[in-house]
Amino acid sequence: MQEKKISRRSVLAAGAGAALCMPFIRPAWAQTQTVRALMWEAYVLPDVVSKFEEENNVKFVATFFDGNSEAYNKLRVGGAKEFDLVQADGFWPQLYFRDGLIRSVDYAHVPSAANYLPEFHAEKFKVLTDPASGSKIGYPFCWGAYGITYNAAVVAPEKTGTIECMFDPALSGQLSTSARFEENIALAALLVTDRLGSREKPRPDGKPFNPYVLTDEELDGVKKLLIEQKALLLTRYQDNPTLFQLLQSGAVVAATEFAQVFRQLLTAKDRNPKQDFRHTLKMKEGGLGWVDTWLVTSGVEDGPKLDLCNKFIDRMISSEIMKRIGEVAGCSTTIDLRGISTEEERKVYLMDRSSEIADLFMFDQPSSPEKWERVWSNVQAA
């Protein structure tokens, strides 16, 4: 039998192999639970996450997305097993629930849910109720619109009462819109359908008008309008900090956005007193609205994991954290913070205007993502 010698090289090789394997070998007692969230980056408060991890001996792993369709795709590809919590807005939670990607929830296990503004109470806010079973499918979080933020020192306020403002040649090179294709098309659709007078006509889905369900004629009108708009835009901003800089510097005087940048501009320390930023929530042709939510994926079963998810949501919608999120992300909250806010904060964060959400068209899934993609590509290529 051949005798094997233990050489220095073999010891080093074995040591290196063992060291490389160490991160993957852990005793059972050292295993911590992980809460995995698919969420918007703006809502991450590192200190809140750290405290949650510490108190519950868990690891919180966040994955970020930009738009609903992107999150939906990620959830579908990875399956609900890849994430425990997910965020969505508008009618998207209904789609998630229909596709079995999220589960029903019980507000009784999230004490902070008792502090919702009247419009977002479980029995009133039907967007998060499954029509078939009547069960709740998620928790409202922040709300807002896709309105026009403008510098009133340059743009007359009455001009922004209509979506035409974003297509005004007089503001050429000083306009900006988001890079999200759904909202660009849906907002332009409000103007096109208003001009065509086609909202009252029978709709393709047989339901009342929804700017996310359009006829081919309307889509064609949208395409022409967006191509015209291209020449007037400085850029389509990719993120809020970019838009903030563009508006604050005066390079852009009017932009469609989620009112988040508007609030950041108002609360900025180095604010230019000559600038007078204002936000139009709803234009005469209508407006788009959103309510961000927290949803629990169908991969989470009853038990410790669901308890952890509920605890996290409860923490996130607590008054103290919601106030901070409103300040950091610049959004209005669905939790009633009027008792702990100043008059100025009530005004800036639209705390007394939450009822207006009912008049806005909620963010939704495009009737045909393929058709909408062609329209958007044609606009981009024109």
Binding site: Y72, N73, F181, L234, T235, L246, P369, A381
Partner: protein, 289 residues
């Protein structure tokens, strides 16, 4: 070492990279090709064989326009990078002295930060409130509109991103070039232009082509630079592919676009490889300078 151990070592040496390449390179490519012959409807994959995505690419002018934009951008960026790289690399090789290595390593400094960070920094430089236009505005001059959210801004960004690759490749080629050949030509009465055009350039052409391709291929599929800097008219092919796999959820069409890009890149590589003669790459085997 026994013959059996030797064979085992040889197998491990070859099989590990082969398995790695098959799993992470060949299989994803096959998956991409398969996906390109399926369809996506309402964010769902329909597993029915169809060439519809390729028909869409052939009939919708938008995708062709994106491709042509990308192609021109890649050609301009690569040619410009080669033109700029040559004097830089030549200077380092001929006059770098004992700092040659340090100077060549300095070229890699931008790679120490991420691509997104570099692009955001560039956005700050070229934007309406950036360093360039900020200074111009302070001086009372009009801002340079062509560098703000335009194809020019994307061009600057792509040159900034890939120039170090081209310089490094040309530098390595020149480093191994036997400059005694140039001295011999000079001694025989050739002027500088003739020495460059008939000796230095042809003997380093292969290295230059490799540098060109290292810039051309990634530029052809660039997605981030046009996204951050391109503006409303700056959408390129790679950005459109990213859009199909991201917010649009039209993955099958994106896969078809990817296959077309892959085939075109292979074609370019094939054509250019005809011009590469490894015996004439500057590696003359006659020792270094």
């Amino acid at each position: 070492m026994s013959e059996a151990e030797n064979r085992l070592n040889r197998r491990l040496f070859l099989h590990i990279p082969t398995v790695f390449l098959v799993i992470f390179f060949v299989l994803p490519l096959i998956a991409l090709v398969v996906l390109s012959f399926w369809q996506t409807e309402n964010y769902k994959i329909v597993r029915e064989w169809t060439a519809m995505n390729y028909v869409t690419l052939a009939t919708e002018p938008a995708y062709f326009i994106f491709f042509i934009r990308s192609l021109f951008m890649a050609i301009f960026v690569s040619v410009f990078s080669v033109v700029v790289s040559w004097p830089i690399a030549f200077f380092i090789v001929r006059h770098g002295g004992r700092y040659k290595l340090i100077l060549s390593l300095l070229l890699a400094v931008p790679f120490l930060s991420g691509e997104v960070l570099r692009l955001i920094a560039l956005q700050g430089m070229l934007g309406p409130t950036g360093l360039v236009n900020g200074v111009l505005l302070k001086l009372g001059a009009a801002p340079l509109r062509f560098i703000m959210y335009s194809n020019s801004a994307t061009f600057i960004a792509l040159v900034y991103l890939y120039l170090p690759m081209v310089v490094t490749t040309v530098y390595l080629s020149l480093l191994n070039f036997d400059f005694r050949l140039a001295s011999a030509a000079s001694a025989c009465g050739a002027n500088r232009f003739r020495i460059f055009s008939e000796i230095v350039w042809p003997l380093n052409l292969s290295g230059t082509i490799v540098g060109f391709l290292l810039c051309f291929i990634p530029t052809l599929s660039a997605a981030l630079a046009p996204r951050f800097l391109g503006g409303p008219n700056g959408v390129l092919y790679g950005m459109s592919i990213a859009q199909q796999f991201g917010e649009s959820g039209t993955w099958a069409l994106g896969a078809a676009m990817g296959v077309v890009l892959f085939l075109f890149s292979m074609l370019v590589l094939g054509v250019f490889s005809l011009g590469i003669d490894l015996r004439r790459t500057g590696f003359t085997g006659m020792g270094r300078q």
